[in-house]
């Protein structure tokens, strides 16, 4: 009973968190939800769009609202700006000679934190990129003979400029796969943009004084709870169908892998939780599919990129919407007389 209350509180807090971030990042509720989904699914997120759409601010705000400014219970936030001359050592850390102890001491790099903002990841050399991605996957760092585990809560928010930009090293498909979710930021709509211009001082103020809403423990607890979210067999079937369809679709060259499918399920559960539910519905399926799968697929052409996945998803939604799963789920009140 105590746990349930805790869950409801936590779910409440998620909502608060989203609201909190929204005071800074206006009109990006969906993107905020995706970020939290990746967080709760114990994954990492990649944000891509043109410069100046609010990627970095978003990451920073999120980090701050779960870490506070310098709180003990808060999460530890680090930020690395990726540049072409960055070296893996700059991320991982290096052995430094301790004059006192007369020995090499491992000086931990910025990776040893709770929330990592890897800004403009595609500007770094592939060497650095793979070092980061390796850590993200393994959750540990091996230097020489010693293996250093990363923090229990390790969440990477990577941002990148579109691949077409100059001076970038695009991430290969295999590495993109490491990110649970990839989202596009996009520009806000016109009314929101007007509001932003009118109130840019307020936003600045909000950004500076962001409050911690979720504690570390709560996040770890929610991560555990994510695993317990109920997912109906038919939804799992739908996930299977969608993943398989991506392999059969004539316009998709490279379909989704089995690992993608598992990631998909994890994200579904997390997304349900972010939306304040402890079960997965069609809405979650519709909400998350593109974010989870799109960057794992290689399309035959640009047109297919826009259409293929939508059509596959639409078909599954259509199937699900016509399923009769409510047998004996409703207990009848006798014909309502009390209205």
């Amino acid at each position: 009973m105590e746990e349930t209350i805790k869950i409801e509180q936590a779910l409440d807090n998620i909502k608060k968190l989203v609201d909190n971030i929204e005071t800074v990042i206006r009109g990006k509720r969906e993107q905020i939800q995706f970020v939290l989904t990746a967080l709760l699914a114990k994954g990492h997120i990649l944000m891509e769009d043109n410069p100046g759409t609010g990627k970095t601010v978003m990451a920073k705000t999120l980090a701050k609202s779960i870490s506070g400014s310098a709180n003990e219970s808060g999460a530890n936030f680090k930020r690395i700006q990726f540049t072409p001359d960055l070296l893996p050592m700059d991320l991982i850390g290096s052995h430094i000679f301790d004059d006192v102890k007369k020995e090499f001491v491992f000086k931990k790099g910025p990776l040893f934190c709770n929330v990592l903002l890897a800004d403009e990841i595609n500007r770094a050399s592939p060497k650095v990129q793979s070092a980061l991605l390796e850590c993200m996957a393994e959750h540990q760092i091996t230097m020489g003979e010693t293996t250093y585990p990363l923090e229990k809560l390790f969440f990477t928010i990577a941002t990148q400029n579109p691949v077409e930009m100059e001076g970038t090293y695009p991430l290969p498909a295999a590495q993109l796969d490491r990110f649970f979710i990839k989202i596009y930021f996009g520009y806000v709509d016109e009314t929101t943009e007007l509001n932003i211009y009118k109130d840019y001082l307020g936003i600045q103020n909000n950004q500076d004084h962001i409050q911690q809403v979720l504690s570390m423990n709560e996040i770890l607890f929610l991560q555990q709870e994510t695993e317990k979210v109920f997912i109906h067999e038919e939804i799992i079937t739908a996930v299977r169908n969608i993943v398989r369809e991506t392999r059969n679709h004539p316009d998709i060259v490279l379909g989704a892998s089995v690992r993608s499918g598992i990631t998909f399920l994890k994200c579904l559960k997390a997304f349900a939780l972010v939306n304040g539910r402890t079960f997965v519905t069609e809405d979650d399926l519709r909400g998350i599919t593109a974010a989870v799968l799109d960057h794992r697929l290689i399309y035959r052409n640009r047109e297919a990129k826009q259409k293929a996945l939508t059509i596959i998803l639409g078909r599954e939604l259509d199937r699900l919407s016509k399923l009769n799963l409510t047998i004996n789920r409703t207990v009848f009140a006798p014909p309502a007389q009390d209205i």
């Binding site: 038919e234 004539p250 519905t281 939508t310 409703t330």
Partner: protein, 873 residues
């Protein structure tokens, strides 16, 4: 040329089995059918079919494996062309190489056709449709070129192609859309095809059973007795007579131009015609007319009767329905002939041998019919007889083309009558309608040719009769070799092209034919010259014996058609232009003795039987009509008369009957030749009753003629009429339209019917009520144009709420919870699920005006959209 996806062997196999094999079978059939009409140098349909199918099969196998069309087709055609050229340069005999190259040409044409079809089947999606349209159109073109439009021919021509069309379009699409990786591939295909076949079969049988009677009517109407010949695919011959089941003969009311005429040599009737030339001794034979064919159906090239003739002068009684010795007269016929000059009344006695009892034949223009009894000693030979009276022109005669040579009398008559007719420089009809009707000609290139020929022939003829003679002389003229230009033939054959105009073919090329060809050609030549004319059908009268002048014998092969021309004041005149057929002028057997000694009738009583005394052989009659000493008596009240039938012959139309078979209420005519009545004369003042009182009782009678009861006869007639009733296309069309309308309405209403079902389900109390409510709501919204269409349920619910001011989202959330979670629902949620449906529908309804709602709701596309799964790729 894009290279299509490579098919799996399964798909190829399916194409070979399900597309190529039926196509090959159809082509075997089509080629077989075509070979019935066209014969190409010993090339038979089997080898032609094999050529086509080999091309088809090879192409399908070939193109299923990524071969480019242009290169492969280029090589195939190059190969064909070079082989074809090779034949030309071969050194053996010229005919052999010609023969070979023709054969090869057929091979390469059919093979290429098959090749193209195979390519189309395996690569192009729309090919099947184009292919079927091509087949149908070519079939329609071929059929429209034939004149042989019988039901069987139509069914043979169209049903296979139509069935193939449905099948191939469906199957090609099925194969294209099937999932190659379906584990139970064969089952999938079989299932679909079986279902499809069942539906088509059902449809076919339904249509056939609904229109069965109509089909049969068409069969009877068009096919007639020739249907069997048609089936055998042998020559299609035409018979001028028709025979009923009892072997009775009568003239047909239409005559078709066909390839051959079948005739037999049976004696049909004997007639005594009371028409002589001025000297009173030399018999002047007249043709015996049954019908006038005033209409010509250009499509089927058939001469027909027309009931809408202006100034109808056809007298058509049924002799079997007129009481013995009582005559039926229609004087309006005389008026309608518009003939006033040189006319006289002539009578003819017709003795029927195999002529149908209800048939009436007489020289034109007959206006009266009086059935007579046949003398006793001839009873076996002649079934019945009647006397006809005609309004006959002095100038009319059977002699025109048929002219016994060297007959002085005849020559002077011809001179006389031609001179009289020459006085008419231009023919004027009684009115414009008459002229228009009888000078009508189809407007067509072919008929223009006839018209040109007619102008050429009659260039030097000033008057209508001269033109007529010129046409006759043209038919009798000889060619440069001294041979007759036109020959009589019962088997003229048909032109090579099925659609060709048979009359122009006859007139300009073949120059062989039977009477209908000559009459038809003459008719259109005359009409093109503005001379009103028509075709008469009946019997050719030949004066064969000088033994009994005025007596004529008519055999079945004398059934004839000839032209009649209208001259003002003189009326219709017979002109036969059919060149002599030697056979018909000699009788097949010596003519018998004519029935000459007709007894004098003193009394004829017509009435209903009231009592039959078999022992005394007496019959009591109630009579209203009496013929006494050639005078008619009639009375409105029936009078009783008893007659003695001990020496009488009792007969009906069908033959002799026994006295015991007479019963009360039967309609009979009693005839007496008794000498006892000879001297009992009637006074001027006598009426029917007073005469009967003078007669001895019972009156001895010699003959009793029994009439079939009216009802029985009427019934028979009705049955006949039913059987013969021409197919009522309007009825057929109405039925088809009704069926179609029903189907359309059903389709039209199907969205509503589905809604009724879903609504009922949603309102019911099932354990899955929530699902039914959700489905019904979704369907309802979908029909109104707010389809979910790939949206998430929550997003959709939000949109719906925004549009209609409903609280769908609450229901939706509860429903999603019920659907996808295992948590127990709260009471509020259960209430929502159970009770919000009605209000939701109401609220949606109130937001859309009725008109929009109706039009959107009944839109079938919305329904299809709802039920169809979105297609991937």
């Amino acid at each position: 040329m894009p290279i299509g996806k490579v098919y799996s062997y399964k798909k190829m196999l399916a194409q070979l089995l399900l597309l190529a094999v039926p196509t090959a079978i159809l082509f075997f059939y089509l080629l077989w059918d075509a070979n019935l009409f066209y014969n190409i140098l010993e090339n038979n349909w089997i080898s032609q079919g094999i050529y086509f199918s080999s091309g088809l099969f090879v192409a399908i196998c070939f193109y299923s494996y990524r071969f480019r069309f242009f290169t492969t087709a280029f090589f195939v055609f190059l190969f064909c062309y070079s082989v074809y050229k090779l034949f030309g340069s071969l050194s053996f005999g010229e005919f052999d190489s010609f023969y070979l190259s023709i054969q090869f040409l057929i091979f390469s044409f059919l093979f290429s056709l098959g090749w193209l079809a195979g390519f189309g089947f395996s690569r192009s999606r729309y090919f099947t449709i184009a292919w079927c349209v091509l087949l149908l159109v070519s079939k329609i073109v071929v059929v429209s070129k034939t004149t042989d439009i019988t039901v069987n021919a139509l069914i043979n021509a169209f049903v296979p192609v139509l069935a193939y069309t449905f099948y191939i379009i469906y199957t090609a699409e099925l194969i294209r859309n099937m999932n190659e990786e379906e584990p139970r591939f064969a089952w999938f295909v079989t299932k679909r095809l079986a279902g499809f076949g069942l539906v088509i079969l059902l449809l076919f049988f339904m249509i056939f059973s609904v229109f069965k009677n109509d089909f049969q009517a068409v069969e009877k109407e068009w096919g007639g007795s020739q249907a069997q010949n048609d089936k055998k695919g042998k020559d299609k011959s035409e018979n001028m007579n028709k025979k009923d089941s009892k072997g009775n003969v009568s003239n047909k009311d239409q005559t078709k131009l066909t390839g051959s005429l079948s005739k037999d040599k049976q004696l049909v009737f004997v007639a005594k015609l009371d028409n002589y030339f001025d000297d009173g001794i030399t018999a002047n034979p007249l043709y015996f007319t049954a019908f006038y064919y005033t209409k010509f159906d250009t499509l089927t090239q058939t001469f027909e009767r027309d009931s809408l003739v202006p100034h109808n002068d056809l007298f058509l009684p049924d002799p079997s329905r007129i009481p013995l010795y009582f005559s039926k007269t229609d004087s309006s016929v005389i008026k309608n002939t518009h003939a006033t000059k040189s006319r006289k009344v002539v009578s003819a006695d017709i003795y029927k041998v195999v002529l149908a009892p209800d048939a009436f034949l007489a020289p034109s223009t007959s206006f009266s019919c009086q059935p007579m009894s046949v003398p006793k000693e001839f009873k076996d030979q002649y079934k019945s007889s009647y006397r006809a009276k005609m309004w006959v022109s002095d100038l009319n005669s059977a002699y025109f083309i048929y002219n016994p040579a060297g007959n002085q009398q005849l020559q002077s008559f011809q001179e006389f009558r031609f001179n009289r007719l020459r006085e008419i420089k231009k023919i004027k009809g009684p009115d414009k309608q008459f002229m228009d009707y009888y000078t009508f000609m189809p407007k067509d290139e072919e008929y223009k040719k006839i018209s040109e020929l007619a102008k050429q022939i009659t260039a030097n003829a000033p008057t209508p009769i001269d033109k007529m003679i010129a046409i006759r002389d043209y038919f009798l003229s000889k060619n440069e070799f001294g041979q007759p230009l036109f020959k009589y033939s019962d088997n003229p054959g048909i032109p090579g092209i099925p659609s060709a105009n048979k009359l122009t073919y006859f007139l300009l090329e073949n120059r062989k034919g039977y009477c209908a060809y000559f009459a038809g050609a003459t008719l259109f030549m005359l009409r093109s010259l503005g001379i009103p004319s028509r075709i008469a059908a009946g019997y050719l009268t030949v004066d064969r014996s000088s033994k009994n002048p005025g007596w004529y014998w008519f055999y079945a092969d004398q059934a004839h058609a000839w032209t009649q021309v209208y001259f003002q004041d003189y009326g219709w005149m017979d002109f036969d232009t059919t060149v002599p057929d030697v056979n018909t002028q000699q009788s097949p057997q010596p003519d018998g003795t004519p029935p000459m000694n007709i007894p004098q009738t003193y009394m004829v009583a017509d009435g209903e039987i009231t009592n039959v005394n078999v022992a005394k052989k007496q019959i009591s009659l109630k009579i209203k009509k009496l013929l006494y000493h050639d005078k008619d008596y009639e009375s409105p009240t029936a009078t009783e008369l008893t007659v003695d039938v001990s020496i009488a012959t009792i007969s009906a139309d069908t033959g002799a009957v026994a006295i015991s078979s007479l019963t009360k209420g039967m309609h009979i005519t009693a005839v007496s030749y008794s000498e006892a009545l000879k001297n009992i004369l009637a006074d001027k003042n006598d009426d029917l009753n007073s005469i009967l009182k003078k007669l001895p009782a019972p009156v001895p009678v010699d003959e009793v003629k029994l009439f079939l009861k009216d009802e029985v006869k009427d019934q028979k007639k009705q049955e006949e009429a039913k059987a013969k009733e021409p197919i009522d296309w309007i009825k057929v069309m109405t039925r088809m339209l009704l069926t179609l309308a029903g189907l359309i309405i059903l389709v039209f209403l199907s969205p509503w019917l589905i809604w009724l079902f879903m609504n009922a389900k949603a309102k019911g109390n099932n354990s899955d009520k929530a699902f039914h409510c959700y489905r019904a709501s979704l369907y309802y919204l979908n029909q109104l144009g707010y389809s979910r269409n790939g949206k998430g349920p929550q997003q959709y619910a939000t949109e719906v709420d925004a549009n209609f001011g409903t609280s769908f989202i609450g229901f939706n959330n509860a429903y999603q919870k019920a659907k996808y979670s295992r948590q127990t629902l709260t009471d509020v949620e259960i209430k929502l699920l159970n009770n919000s449906y009605d209000n939701f529908i109401k609220s949606v309804r109130s937001h859309i005006p009725f008109k929009t709602r109706l039009s959107r709701f009944l839109n079938i596309y919305n329904t299809i959209h709802y039920f169809s799964q979105p297609k991937i790729s």
